[in-house]
Structure formats: structure tokens, C-alpha cells
Symmetry: D2
Subunit: 366 residues, 4 copies
């Protein structure tokens, strides 16, 4: 193990580098009998794909997935699902100019200090291109959760740089290149991104993800909490620096009489808990919000060191997303899906024979 597998029962193992021959993964633990074909995964990969608009990296990748095992006659067999996504448009020479320099805010320094090996080509293993594997694994989890439990997982861009965005229309999310849930704001976002790109700088973003239909009872006490596993999964996404569940940091200034979600026969009256109480799902929407930092590879020159420790400056000319957050929505959805599926399996392992003494309390309406 050096960190490339996650999950306890729904396990995802990932490999690949940005400029190597391919990315690939192994999903182990998927129940047998799930209808699955490459197209089910491809549609999620296409949502994450680079080159889909002028606002993201112009690297051209089809991100076509090949399923290598674990599916027979259109159904999962219960054995390991191996898959492969070839890299098609790697341009290692783009990195010649920065091969000997650290980029401020980039992992190139820490990887070198850890491994003593420098693979400057496109970030190597640290590239956000690795998230293609997560999206593939998440696509399978999403499908199973939807078919087996009616769980629906959706996300959207909640802030771009300084601009907050309200959730006005779920249907709008997939109709613009920002996953923006407010169509009226899209032109402003386009202008913002055009100016940002022209300036050679980058910006951060906030992405919200919501899972609806999660039954109460998923999660484990103390360390194996559902929210702890969600936190790890989200923080493992490239560029994430913060995370909230439910009220998040707003809970600091709340009173207990305000924060604690009251219950009535009609259901919960609010959702400050964000769908998790004591580490176990409450049956309300699981609501997660993440902060993504600005891309570290920018065209503006910055003070840095070279690999010998000498002072220099660096500016990055390669193809990069000026805002990694723009493509983060399907990734965050995928990670949430994987964690929920893992806990669904863990829950029924231990508690398959439990009959709770009352019916689930409905989540807050609206």
C-alpha cells in the first residue's frame, strides 16, 4: 500500500500518470448482477473530460474506457472490474522549461522530497488527470446506489473565485461548462474566466454535492463514521483544502437551539446535520461542500527554487485548467458515490437482520 487504494468493501485501486501510456483502475467488491456496460461509465467520464470548453485545459483526450474484466454478458459477475483509459495527447516537451524548477503550490517539491524521483511531465502521479479513475469507479457506484436504494447524487459549482452561486435549477447544471446551477450567472462566469485566462492567473472554487435518498443507518461509530470517510474522500481530490458537512463552519456561531434539527411526524424541520448524526446517516440529504484552491501551474512568473535549491523564477506555459474547480463537480459526485456504496455494503454486512422500531423520519421538505 502506498495510498492508491480506498474503500473497505467497495474498493478502488488506481494507477497511471499524466504522461505515461494509460490510467487504469480496479473496482473490487461490486455486487454481482448489476447491468453494466462501458457506456454507463463513459457518460460520466465525458462530463469530466478535458477540452470540453475554452475555459478548461485544451488537452484532447477521448477518455474512452475499456472494461477488461468483471462484466460478463452485460452484468457484473462479482469479481474485480478492471478498466483502462489510454492517454492520447501527452506532450512531455511542454515541461522542458520547468523540468528543473518547483512550481509554487505544486506537489512537484514534495514528491521529490519523498521519493527522490522527479517526473516533471505533467505532474506525473500528482496530476488531476488521475481523477478519471475516480469518476469511472463512481459511475458504477452511482448506478448501483440508484438501482438498489434509489439514491441520487448531484453536485454543482457553488462559488467561482469571489462569486457565490445559488442553487436555482438542478436541470441547468449539466447544460453549461461550469456545472453552474443558475443559468443567469453563466455569462458573468464566462467573462470572469476569459479575463482570468488572459491574465495568466488561476482561481479557486467551491463545489457542493448532495446525495438524496440515503436511508438512515449507513456509517459506523467513532472512527469509521460516514462523514469521516466522506471527508477523507473529498480531501483526497486534488486541490481540495477544506470541507463542510451540513452547516459546516456556520455551526460555530450557531446556538444549540438553532443547530439541532427538530423532528416532527412530517419529518425533520431543518438539515443542519447535513444528513449525518454521530457518523451515521440520518436519512436526510447528505450535503457536502468543498473548497478547491487555484491551479498552481500559471503563466505569471513566481519566485521559486530549482532542484538544486538555487533561487530562480518559474512560469508555466503548458496546457492547464485555470480553475480545477470547473471540472470538479463530477469528481466530487463520484467520490461521494464510492463512500456511500462502501457504507451501504458495510451496513448490511453487520445489520442485515436489524428491524428498526420505527419508520424512517422523512428528510426536510424543499
Amino acid at each position: 500500500m502506498s495510498g492508491n487504494t480506498f474503500g473497505t468493501l467497495y474498493c478502488v485501486t488506481s494507477f497511471g500518470e499524466s504522461h505515461g501510456p494509460a490510467y487504469g483502475g480496479v473496482v473490487d467488491g461490486c455486487p454481482p448482477g448489476l447491468a453494466l456496460e462501458a457506456a454507463d461509465i463513459q457518460k460520466e467520464l465525458d462530463r469530466r473530460k478535458p477540452g470540453a470548453s475554452r475555459h478548461v485545459t485544451q488537452r484532447r483526450e477521448s477518455d474512452a474506457i475499456e472494461i477488461l474484466s468483471g462484466v460478463f454478458q452485460g452484468r457484473t459477475t462479482g469479481t474485480a472490474i478492471g478498466f483502462l483509459i489510454r492517454n492520447e495527447d501527452a506532450r512531455a516537451k511542454d515541461y522542458a522549461a520547468i523540468a528543473q524548477k518547483f512550481r509554487p503550490g505544486h506537489a512537484d517539491y514534495t514528491y521529490l522530497m519523498k521519493y527522490g524521483v522527479r517526473d516533471a511531465r505533467g505532474g506525473g502521479r500528482a496530476s488531476a488527470r488521475e481523477t478519471v479513475v475516480r469518476v469511472a469507479a463512481g459511475a458504477i457506484a452511482k448506478k448501483w446506489l440508484a438501482e438498489r436504494y434509489g439514491v441520487r447524487i448531484r453536485g454543482y459549482l457553488a462559488q467561482l473565485g469571489p462569486r457565490s452561486i445559488e442553487l436555482r435549477d438542478w436541470d441547468a447544471v449539466d447544460s453549461n461548462p461550469f456545472f453552474c446551477p443558475d443559468p443567469a450567472v453563466v455569462p458573468e462566469l464566462e467573462r470572469f474566466m476569459d479575463e482570468l485566462r488572459a491574465s495568466g492567473d488561476s482561481c479557486g472554487a467551491r463545489v457542493n454535492v448532495v446525495a438524496s435518498g440515503v436511508p438512515p443507518g449507513w456509517g459506523e461509530p467513532v472512527y469509521g463514521r460516514l462523514d469521516a470517510d466522506i471527508a477523507a474522500a473529498m480531501m483526497s481530490i486534488n486541490a481540495v483544502k477544506g470541507l463542510e458537512i451540513g452547516a459546516g463552519f456556520a455551526a460555530v456561531a450557531q446556538k444549540g437551539s438553532e443547530h439541532g434539527d427538530e423532528m416532527s411526524p412530517e419529518g425533520f424541520l431543518s438539515n443542519n446535520n447535513g444528513g449525518v448524526l454521530g457518523g451515521i446517516s440520518s436519512g436526510q440529504d447528505v450535503a457536502v461542500s468543498i473548497a478547491l484552491k487555484p491551479t498552481s501551474s500559471i503563466r505569471l512568473p513566481r519566485r521559486t527554487l530549482d532542484v538544486k535549491g538555487e533561487a530562480t523564477t518559474v512560469a508555466t506555459a503548458g496546457r492547464h485548467d485555470p480553475c480545477v474547480g470547473l471540472r470538479a463537480t463530477p469528481i466530487a459526485e463520484a467520490m461521494l458515490a464510492c463512500v456511500l456504496m462502501d457504507h451501504a455494503l458495510r451496513h448490511r454486512a453487520q445489520c442485515a437482520d436489524v428491524t428498526p422500531p420505527l419508520a424512517p423520519v422523512p428528510g426536510r421538505k424543499g
Copy 2:
């Protein structure tokens, strides 16, 4: 497994309930030869202990630890360290009035839905009293990290309800019951807590934790990131609803030219990364901030359901912390210590033979 063990190589297993006979734990993976006696752990437990001021629960527990194994002639042997902390002041009858009612914001509902079992006495396994085990395990990790690598881990109260607190004096932190790093603010905090307690309500808090002296290279790429494991560890603490590393949510509104920490021969020029880049420690201070929600057990009446699903109201008369965040500082320090020790061991397993090509870049001064 149902969530009561954490860590890959420095493993902590916990058991116990608030009103059962005892809490206990097993620390597995500690290197042999560490000088260790009960007093080393006790001093950290005493920092977390209930009843230490009028602002926290008045339950009287000595929290005296008994080490049962893994230490011989004052040194760790390398085998499992078992320890026990007896409960002394459990009052199960306090819970008679609420035995049949859910407390808004409490885990009593989700535990019942998961396990079909109701142990209303003091929260059962969901009680924050479980953190006594974490603090014990963290005390061992702190000691080893300090002696072996010179790592120092400290925390403080950064916000109480609506009141932000600046870090003015590390030495002040342990001289007041709030872990407040600004002595001038303490009287105000006391008034605030007195009023809060009188009102029967509770409030949230923010706690910051910092680890200094962490060498670059700890952490693993992709899923086993140092920050991902920190996130899980922090989110597993009772009442935590949000978490930031480095710039955290402020990174959303930053430009890349502002966020990326520049490097010079004198060291990093800022620490927006919070000590972690690409999931691997950068050698800068590891800086973590967590949001704790207000206590759910309050004296004010609230709308809720009973265990049959009937509408009722509940008010909690037992002994409770009006702000769990007040005692969270040593807990958060402990969790950070455990994660760092785990990654120290994981790092040297894989990379013991690595010699990085340059000396570590110093962290930002001041």
C-alpha cells in the same frame, strides 16, 4: 470491523460507553524502546478531563489510566499497548426523562435506526467521553514524534460562538480553561459561557491545531494523502462539521498568484498550503482548523419524536458541556499526532532508502 479502529501502522482500537464500566483502547504498532509510563499519558488526559472548570460538564471522573500491556521496565516493547480508564461517576438515572425521546442534533436517532438497540444512558457509544481513548493514544504519538523527529503539536480555541480569537501567546493556552491563546479575551469568554449556561442553550467553537517540525515527505499520493487522513481523523471527532487545511475555504477566492507559496533559499514565503502539497508534507507547519457544532443536549425544550414516532418535546437535564469545543483542543491535537505518527511509519517503510537531492526548504519564519 465496525469503525472502532483507525490507522494503518499506528493503529488505535477503542471501546467503551459513557455509562458502562470502562473505556479502553489498544495501541498497536508503536516502535519499541520508547520511554513510557502512565504519567506521560495522564498529563494529556488531565487536559481533557471533565469537571475542570464551571464551564464544562460537572461529571467527576479522575480519568486515571492503567497500562495493561506493551510496556516493560518503563519502555515500550513493540507489542500492543492495552489500557483502561474506569468510569466512576455515571448516573444512568439522569437519562430516565429522555429515555424514550430523540434529542435534536443527537446521534440517538441514527444509532437506533442502525442497530435497532437503544442505550440512552449518556449517549452510549456516541458519547464524547470516548475521546479519552484518543487522547491516550495521541499522548503516546506526541511523545514519540517529539523524541524521534522533533515534531511539536499544539492547538488552541480560535472561535467561541460568534467571537473569533487571535493566536497571541502559545504559553497562555494551557493557563485558562478555554485553551484560549489570548489572555485578554478570557474574561469575555467567561461571561459569555456564564450567560450561555444560564440560558440553557449551547454554542459551537472553532479549534486550530498546528504541527511544527514535520519533515517533508510524509503522506501518500492520491487516496492515502496526509491531508485526507487528517480530514478523516478530525471529522471523526464528535461534533465536527467542517475542516480546513492551510488557507482552507479562503483559497476559493484566492488567485493562483496569491495562493501558491513562493520559495526562496531562506524558505517558503507563505503557508497557504498548510504544510501539505499533493497529499505529502511540505516541511511547513501542518495547520488544521475544525468547526465544532453546539452540543445537542440542552435544557431548552425542543420539538421532537419519541421512539414510537409520536410528536413530543424534549429538554435535557443531565450534566453536559454547553460547548464541546471547550475541551476539543487536546482531542484535536491527539488525532493529528496519531495521523502524523502513522504516516511517519508508513513513509519510512517505503522510503527508508531515499536520499532527496536537496536539503529541506525551511518553513515560513514567524
Copy 3:
């Protein structure tokens, strides 16, 4: 982790040393609602207890178990079950004479080379007294397996030194101090042990364990095989040097036409597979056989080294089992129970929704 936890979903964590204050353990993952009290575990501990006959160590331990958590009002709650067994009759001074010498065949040399620490008192962590924790964990697993799936797990002494023993009467097993399934042989075994003890030497043993009623489908392909996990569990018992499942080593000389168990509508016609095919339970009896080496602590003098590497001789005068295999039957049963329960939970996690297309084929009659 340093090896003191096992199991994926039914997890057992163990601590304690032979001459420390106590042994204890944590069972995590037990389903909620199982009726459980200390007496359920105590009856299995009493089967393993030292001092029960003149043929085993004369150390006097009541091995009384205290359950510390995870059980409320006589039922498991689904949270971690912590338990403690105090040591009562440790005599550290017995070990003064051998404190500086390695015992041939003992782990004292390897522990010292690994940890650099020497705890000569009674073998420290390497003592077979640790198996008290396994038997406790196994008692819970046995009870759950019996009540939930009708699985029955039994073992017996199949060979003592050179003397093979036939399974003639399951009911006889618990009526003699050898777990001997052939009452007619018991007097011979007593004479053998009396002479062995008088000689100052020790001997090996073979123990067979059988689980009946295991449904087909438990186990996982490739690495997580049921038989692989059984092998690890058995080999982790002190003194075990070999293991067979089903036909075992006899399969080497069998032809395929002889080994492959034919099937008929009345059931399997033989059980060479030992209840496992392709790592998955076949529904037949799971049949395991283990080889236990002779005790290394003997009164006869032997050539050895002291801790400085100087040549010397050693003879061990303390209280020791002349044949650890005599008390191994309940231990082996316990390990098999833990592995089966773990796989029962793992199986239903992934395959809870599977309906096999045919009814289970019965195991071989008689």
C-alpha cells in the same frame, strides 16, 4: 498495526503478556441483538483453562472474563465488545534462571532480534496464554454462527506424538482432558503423558476441526479465499507448523478421478475438498487439520546461546505444558469460528441480493 488485529469485518484485537497484569481484547463488528453474557464466553474459556489436569501446566488461573462494553441488557449493541481477563498466578521469578539464555525452538531469540527488547517472563507476548483472547472472541462467533446459520464447530485431538487417534465419538471429546474422540484410547494417552512429563521432554500433536452447516458461498476468490484465511488463522496459533484442508497432503498422490468430489441429487459423494472449492464454501463440512510442534520449554538441557552470543546450555524449570496440543482444540475451534463469521458478514455485504439458481447440494452423508 503490528499484527495484533485480525479479521476484515469481524475483527479481533488482542493485547497482554503472560506476566503482565492482564490479557484483553476487542471484538468489533458483531451484529447487534445477539444474546450474550459473560457465562457464554466463560464456558469456552474453561475448556482452554490451564491447570485442568495433571497433563497441562499447573499455573492456576480462573480466566474469569469481564465484559466492559458492547453489551447492554444482555444483548450486543453492535459496538465494540471490550473484555478483560486478569492474570492471577504469574511467577516471574521462575524465569530468573533462563533470563539470559535462548530456549531452542522458542520465540525469545526472534523477539529480541526484532524489537531489541527482552521480556523473558513467561514468554511475554509470545506466550500461548494469549490464546485466551482468541477463545473469547471465538465463543461469540460460535454463538452467532449457531443461532443465525445453524453452523456447528467442533474439534478433537487426532494425534498425540506418534499415536494417531480415530474420531469414534464426538460426545467423548469433552469428557477427557485430551479432547480425545476415542474413549478407549484415553488410558494410553494418560500413560504416555505421564512418562513424557517424567522424562522432562515434550511432544507434538495434531488437532482436527470441523464446521458443519456452513452454507455454500462464503469466501472470496483469488486472495481472500476462505481457506486462505483459515490457513492464516490456524498458522497464527502458537506452535502450529502445518495445516491441511480436506484431503490435504494426501491429495498429492491422488488422481483427479479420485479427488474430485462427485455430485448427485442426494448430495456430494465424498469430501476431499474439505468444504472449500475455489476459495468458496461448498456447503460440505469444512474440515481442517493442524500440526502442533512440541513445547520448546523443556527440562532437558540443550545447547544454546546467551543474549551476548556466548555458548551455554539451558533447561527450563517453570510451569509449562508438555504438549501445547492438548489444549489446542478449543483454540482451533475459536479461530475457525472467527474466520467463518468474518466471511459470513463479508458474503452478505456483497451478495445479499443473490438468489442462486439451484438449491444447495447436501454434504456427504455420514
Copy 4:
């Protein structure tokens, strides 16, 4: 997880089916800086390859490996090593005749009962062809163990059907298609196999594996024993039904005065322990012996059931190894290598700072 990953720090994840498009694997945790190219792995794959003699399956596979990640400029980077081996000669139609029938001794019945899915093509995931992944992972482990610690791992055929074989010449092992260490016996083995093949039957085998140069101290007490992990690894190989370490089952009839390996300044005087004492390596040769059952796919007709549970007979006409043990030597070597490397990493994680008080005692000469 459903069993397709093994190892704690040196982790191998495997996927693929006999008649799917490919096998592949991910090795995670390999230290950085190891010189590695495809040829290093290929040479071990070629030892295991089908079609190498008339005595094994005539399926024609080049088993050419493609390394997809984790290696840069001829050295491991420390990140996940993904690799792929395409299937080239699958003939699914060979299985039409047996598609609806269970083969006695085969996993086809248990897979169907577990997963409710039937992939009769070549055994699907249960095919011994999966061992190609193990051999690849083992090749990397072998190389690292040899270069870093001087460990050498070798195996040989110790019994074919009823015929025992003595270890006479290590150099002969790779010069005949049986991995037979006694060249004089090879003609007899060839005659035996020719007759067996002609008869339509199959036979079992015993394979011995030895690791030399393992330093003392690898392994963990109690459950994480080196021998327990070796046992699981060996038992996870297709067709293995028994396993011995050191004296193995012979230890049952040994006296303690005979079994316990005496020590002298010149070294251990015997190796009954088989290189492991108390679960920790002793510095002697790690000596393992495994029993492989006869192949279940044979041409002779046998009584069985079809997938509807109706009585029938089955005979298997496809291409099969009449003795899977013939190709098991490189597989067993690979599994031992993986376990040893895993424990080497685990050991230095915990005990990197230990200096044992005496020099390692040499293993038995000759």
C-alpha cells in the same frame, strides 16, 4: 474488497478472467529507485507460461507484459505499478459442452452459488491463469529483496503424484519442464506424465520453496505472523490443500528435545523451525512445502449435476494442465517473495531504530 488485493504495505491487486480480454494488476508500495523494466518481469512469466512442454496445457499465450505506470526512466517512482497481460488464445467454444454442468472438484459450483452468475469459459476468475499476476508482482519483490537484502527465493517439485523427489541440484531445476531438482528422475517423470495424459486423468504434486538470506526480525507477533501470512498466500494459490513450514506435520511425532533447533556460536544446528519462530524470521532458511491437488478438469467421465440440479455426467475436453503442480513452482516462489517484501517493509516501519544486542546467529550450514 472482495478478495482481489493482498498485502499490507506491498500490495497486489489483480483482475482478469481466463477468457476475457486481459489480466492485469497493480503493485502498490514498491520503494522508489528500483531498476525495473518489462524484461525483469517477463523472464519470470516465461517460467510459468503455458505451452512450454507437452506436459502442460497447449494454450498458446505469449504472456507479454506491458508496464503502464510507476516506472520512469528505468526506475520505480514509488507510485502504483500498473501492468497488463493480454489473453491471446482463449477458445470459449471449448466450453460449450460443459457450460451447464459442474465439474467435480472445480469452483464452478461454488462461484455460481455465491454470485448467481455463471461464466463457464475457462473457469472465469477461478482459472489458474490468474497466477500470471502473482508471478509478475513476485518478480518485482524478488528483485528488490535480492538487491536490498540479498534474499534469494527458489523452489522445486518435491513430489509428483506418488513419486517423491530429492533436492539434489538447484541448478537442474530450471533445465527441465518439471522444475525437478534431480535430473536423474526427469525421464521417469516424463513417462509418468505421458501415461497420465493418455489416461485422461490428472495428478497432484508437492512443491517446496526456500528463501535464503532473510534477516532475523521480519514478521509480527500473534496474528500478523510471517508464517501466517505465508500460509494465507500459499493457500490462496489454486489447488493448494495443505502447507508446511519447517518440520511441518513431522513435528507432531517429534519430541521437544529433537524439534527445538539448538544454537551454537557457529549457528543453528538444525532447521526444524523452517526459518520462523513465534511468527518472526529466525535468520534461517524460510522453508515452505505445499500440497497441490489434481486438476479437476479431466477427460474421464464423472457423475455430477447440471445447473438445474439434475444428475448427469461430465468429461472435460478443453486444454488443461494434467498436473497444475508442474507450473506451480514459480507461482509459489512469487507468493513467498511478496509476503517477505511486505514484511520487510512492515518491519522497518516499526523497528527501523532497533539495534539488536547481538549479531544474527547464522543459519544451519549445508
